[in-house]
């Protein structure tokens, strides 16, 4: 007789909320009217906000072994959920005025919500079954999202590429977990981690394939080559969502799998992760240098950033994982901020944005409101943050990752990352050079003014005073990037959870074997 598993529905509430909303959004979004579109957006936003609120309210409450040991809700899960939900929120807001989604608003919002649910499952997974279900749930949603801008061939190409590569990575991950099952006879991470006999080649091959499968999702080199094309082809709000939420949850899931299921093989996988890190830093930074389109540059930049983030997993049993959690939050904020500016710019020029389109946009005329300078300043802050210049949170996230690597004895990796950061200035700085140091192309500006019927009042660069909501969002995200540099203790605490530890008295403390309660011994 199989015991009825303990179904803790509360543990799954944030996912249930968004899945319910996804169905509702699909139904309401069937209409083609403006009212249907507005209703869909409202439903989506309400669901995302409700999910966020639930996660915040229950941030520190933990559920171990829910759903027959398949789901684990702790602070790490909640951090992953928050990144996914808030990225989705940003993506939805960025897409509000998007042309790409005309007539497809139902699908867009339902798919974004499904992806959020899948991401929540992925970071909460405490076994390979849940991990795979979560991965597929958000991956399939993303394949369609990439291709959703179906009027553009590039978007279809993007969706198709992502589908093929993504399918392959899922297969690799699945095959890896089957090898692990073959070696240990278990699919839950804790049992695999506790399995003591015969941890041989089979188990290690499985672990390597799991790393490979998740590395596709985090676009770490050499599993990165789909990234630039897919990011460029997809509608920019979708790209923004993919490049932050997908990457963040893949990192958190990998950190959890490696540290709970394969802690005994650390000597073997740490060098692999370090090699992936170096490859990503080199490929991402060199690739980004030669781009002319902003989205492609951001795609390669996200590969390079994945390299820095991997340093947090290299230093998994030192200060690395708290630093990784912090860095993921900062990375999401600064990347979303940069994409918000790209969205506004693309909407204004009506095509893909290049560096040249930025020329002179940072300045405002003397008779214009200074508020119009804010989007440019926001982009500047995000670029400095991505480059790791203080006092932005980008510096402190890099500082934490570097410190983790140095403490773990990987000083050379930190040196490689430092040199990579110098190279990265070549493209991050170029944005600032264009914004402030080159004059605006007068001929192009005049031409644009002549062909357009009237300047839109809703752009930060047009005649009106209003700032569009996307630009405002970008400014808010840039402010967050500055704010996160101060007092991020809460963020750090969440990092302890990845090692099955709880925060007691400001330090990570080991919990007992049952994983249910903290041990009495002080940290």
């Amino acid at each position: 007789v199989i015991d009825k598993p303990d179904l803790e529905w509360a543990a799954l509430a944030p996912e249930l909320i968004v899945i319910g909303a996804a169905m509702l959004a699909l139904l309401v979004g069937m209409g083609r009217s403006a009212a249907s579109r507005t209703a869909t957006i409202v439903i989506t936003l309400v669901a995302l906000v409700a999910s966020t609120a639930w996660v915040f309210a229950t941030f520190s409450s933990t559920h171990y072994g829910a759903f027959a040991g398949q789901l684990q809700v702790d602070e790490l899960t909640n951090v992953g959920r928050l990144i996914a939900v808030l990225s989705a929120l940003v993506a939805v807001v960025l897409g509000v005025r998007g042309r790409a989604l005309d007539g497809r608003h139902g699908e867009f919002h339902a798919l974004v919500l499904c992806a959020v649910a899948g991401m929540g499952l992925l970071v909460g997974a405490s076994g390979f079954v849940t991990l795979f279900i979560g991965l597929e749930l958000f991956s399939i949603a993303l394949y369609v999202l990439c291709a959703l801008d179906a009027d553009r061939a590039a978007s279809l190409e993007s969706g198709l590429k992502y589908l093929i590569i993504g399918g392959m990575s899922s297969a690799v991950l699945l095959y890896g977990s089957s090898l692990v099952y073959g070696a240990t006879g278990s699919l839950t991470f804790a049992e695999i981690g506790g399995f003591d006999d015969n941890r041989g080649v089979l188990l290690f091959a499985g672990a390597a394939m799991v790393i490979g499968g998740l590395a596709f999702k985090m676009s770490a080199a050499p599993m990165h080559w789909w990234t630039p094309d897919v990011y460029e082809g997809a509608a920019t709000p979708v790209t923004a969502f993919m490049s932050t939420a997908t990457k963040a949850v893949a990192f958190l899931a990998l950190a959890r799998v490696l540290t709970t299921a394969f802690p005994q093989e650390a000597n073997a996988w740490v060098p692999i992760i370090a090699a992936l890190s170096v490859a990503s830093i080199v490929v991402g930074n060199l690739g980004a240098l030669v781009q002319s389109h902003l989205k492609r540059m951001l795609a390669y930049s996200s590969i390079a950033q994945a390299g820095y983030l991997l340093m947090g997993i290299v230093a998994w049993n030192e200060s690395g994982v708290p630093a990784l959690v912090y860095a993921l939050i900062v990375y999401s904020a600064m990347t979303l901020g940069a994409f918000a500016y790209v969205v506004v710019l693309e909407r204004e020029i009506g095509r893909e944005a290049t560096y040249a389109d930025l020329a002179g946009r940072g300045w405002v005329d003397e008779n214009q409101s200074l508020v119009r300078a804010l989007p440019g300043i926001g982009l500047t802050v995000c670029m400095f943050a991505l480059a790791g210049i203080p006092p932005t949170a980008g510096f402190f996230s890099k500082f934490g990752l570097f410190e983790g690597a140095v403490q773990a004895g990987y000083g050379w990796l930190a040196v490689v990352a430092a040199i990579g950061s110098v190279v990265s200035l070549g493209y991050y700085l170029r944005v600032i050079v264009e914004l402030y140091m080159r004059p605006a192309d007068q001929a192009r500006a005049a031409e644009a003014a002549a062909t357009l019927p009237a300047p839109s009042t809703s752009t930060p660069f047009g005649a009106g005073v209003r700032m569009p909501i996307s630009a405002g969002l970008g400014v808010a995200l840039a402010a967050l990037v500055l704010l996160l540099a101060f007092l991020p203790e809460r963020v750090f605490d969440a990092g302890c959870a990845v090692r099955g530890e709880l925060v007691i008295g400001g330090a990570c403390t080991q919990v007992d074997a049952a994983g249910a309660a903290p041990s009495a011994a002080p940290g």
């Binding site: 403490q407 040199i419 140091m437 203790e489």
Partner: protein, 548 residues
Amino acid sequence: MGDSAFSLPTLLIIVPAAGGLIAMSMLTRRAAALTSLVTLLVQAVLLVVAAVQLGRFADAAGAGVVPSCAESAASDGSRLVLAQCSSWFPQWGVSYSVSLGYGALGLVALTTLVTAGASMFAWWADRERPAPMQGLLWLTAACLTGLFVARDLVLFYVFFELMLVPLLLLVGVWGGERRIRATMTMFVYTLLGSLPMLVGVLAVGVAANDAIAADPTRWADGSTFSLPTLAAMASDGTLQLSSWVLVSFLLAFAIKAPLAPLHGWLPIAYREAPAEVTAVLSGLVSKAAFFGMLVIVLPLFPSQLEGGWGTALTWVALVTLIYGSLAAFRQPDMRGVVAYSSLAQMGLIFLGLSAFTGIGSEQALSGAYLQTINHGLISAAAFLYVGIVERRTGEREFSRIGALATGRARLASVGLLMTMIMLAVPGASTFAGELLILSGVFRGDVSGPLVAVIGTCAVVLAAMYALRLVAGIVFSDRTETATDAAAASERFGGDLGVRELLIVGPALLALVALSIWPNMLHRSMTQQPVAIVQPADPLAAAAKEDQS
């Protein structure tokens, strides 16, 4: 620090930062200039208060003592304290620790004075987009002030990198034709030094954690990156650092200063930046490298420096001094002369730093400190003076201008005064600085008489380039055709006006005052560099107290 107390170093950072941000958001040129003026006045008042406080502290506790956070708070119950320690990133052992000791006050005063001159120049030169320029100049000053008062290694690093941001925009937006190339060159060069230094900082943190773990009770109250704690650890050998950590710091500071052969960014950056920004770069930013050497490299790496690296530093500094002097003499343009003379002077200052041990160390270090202040003032004044000539005539090269003295008494007098201080005539404070450095180097353990003799000969070269500079502008006529000189002279117009004198004057007056009354740099201030490098062993000091 009590809750009701205000920490002066923090205020000294906040005032220019806030002033800069406000100035940036001003809509008119006049409003921005007014904001700059108010910022300057508030900062000046704070500096006077700080000087009085430091004087009282020094009188109470004796010269050469550096106020620590606890001492400063407990000293006299004043509501304006000279140091502050707050936690910032406790997980990483990073604290917000600032102090006006260690000679920081003099450097902060220098920062304020030079920034005021630069800001006035920007206003006089009627730059495009005046408000952001004023704002960015003060933001640079805020970053530099933060760097000079930082007592935490990570905090120092944060300001070291942060000051690049306003500088980058100042050069890139208001620079000459090749400004973007200059910006990129400067930024990439500097970060090529400072990012490896970040790894070095982290390695210091790891070593400090080991030292704390080995003896937790002794280091209980020090956070990982606190510079006084690190210095105390290094002085008794508990801090184990490898040589590559030292190299990462040396490289960063040698690029920032710069020292030959790492000065590749200097010619283009000093030439393409607007004159007032060059004054800041040469007068202030290079001093960040000096300060980094003083508070980080010398205290933390005594054994490595005595074991060969100090000798290497000595010879690099000497080569920089000679190369810079000779190159300055050969430059075809006015700015080139000042730029390379700045390189040479940084070489001299680093030469003083390299005599950090032995009986000459006290002289050499206080000499290096004095010369740092001197050079900050004189190079800023020289760049601003040259900037005025450039702006008025529209020419940069000696072959197109000359003999501007006729009918311009003030231009000639200011130029002559500047030259005399620059070439260090006896009686000038620059002479005192050079004398202290060279006599310290002569008796130094690492450097020795040979280095001192070569250095003395090289210092004489200063007379060559300094005289050539003033002669080329003011007196002699080296223009290819007489019409050139006449045209340049005509474009130059009348003698220096009140505003131009206000730009160059304060720095020169400060130098004259220093020459007459060198004790203005309080004894405790010039002695403190020595106290940092050779800290008293806290245990020994405690034992001494017990006995007495």
